[in-house]
């Protein structure tokens, strides 16, 4: 069951709250948040390889706040064009960049400058020149039509109220035969309108 946006929902307020929350995570990943962050969590609860994460720059791994593991569903093809939607500090992009190799490309899209600063620093430190980051609204991707082999994402789509617009935009950029492998949350019970209007629950 997906979270369905209620009538009159303040999407602009949600977007600001999401921005502010993840900017705060970027500034202080060890701060007081009601979701897990960091590589130890990713390995313990999501199935990432801790040794591999520890080999990546901590500037990118410390703020990681995903909810799943997009790499468990299948290996990324070598030389593939990969996009990470809502890339945050870039941990998944760095992993993707290692898998595609320098013949591929990885583009991380995020709207938060603080996260983008970390992501770019992480890619530079890791020496992954084919991993780049762009600021953007994920419902209007700064990408050519049918230019992407694999779209990944981790814990971001649930933060977008207009799922039809989001998925239509992703469909536009994926090549025929390409795929989407991503992590997000599911909700197992019907939520009341008051719960669906609670910005704190969306951003959590």
């Amino acid at each position: 069951m997906a979270i369905i946006c209620p009538t009159g929902f303040d999407a602009a307020r949600l977007k600001r709250a999401v921005h502010d929350t993840y900017a705060a995570v970027a500034r202080d990943p060890g701060g007081d948040f009601h979701f897990h962050r960091g590589p130890e969590y990713a390995a313990r609860q999501l199935g990432y390889d801790l040794a591999e994460l520890e080999s990546l720059p901590s500037v990118s791994t410390a703020p990681f706040a995903g909810v799943g593991n997009p790499f468990l569903m299948g290996a990324l093809p070598k030389d593939a064009a990969v996009v990470d939607i809502g890339a945050g500090a870039g941990m998944d992009c760095l992993l993707a960049g290692r898998r595609t190799g320098p013949g591929g490309s990885v583009t991380g899209i995020d709207m938060t400058d603080e996260m983008l600063d970390r992501a770019r620093a992480g890619a530079s430190e890791a020496g992954l020149d084919h991993v780049r980051f762009e600021k953007g609204d994920i419902t209007h991707l700064p990408l050519e039509t049918e230019s992407v082999d694999v779209v990944i994402s981790n814990g971001v789509f649930n933060l977008v109220p207009d799922k039809p617009a989001l998925f239509a935009e992703i469909y536009r950029v994926v090549k025929p035969g390409g795929r989407l492998q991503f992590a997000d949350i599911t909700v197992g019970v019907e939520l009341s309108e008051s719960v669906r209007n609670d910005i704190d629950l969306w951003t959590g």
Binding site: G68, K163, A168, Y171, G178, I185, L191
Partner: protein
């Protein structure tokens, strides 16, 4: 999520794994109340 993916044109959309992503957080009780889990999804164009 699956319905929204397929409505956009993706095919063979499915949830592949479910994860207890909120265990140990301050929102664990709320997550259990609303049966909120992390999940890995896949879909093809």
């Amino acid at each position: 999520m699956i319905e929204a993916l397929e409505a956009a044109g993706f095919r063979s959309a499915r949830a592949c794994h479910f994860l207890d992503s909120f265990a140990g957080t301050s929102k664990e009780r709320v997550a259990r109340k609303y049966q909120v889990q992390g999940a890995n999804f896949m879909a093809f164009k």
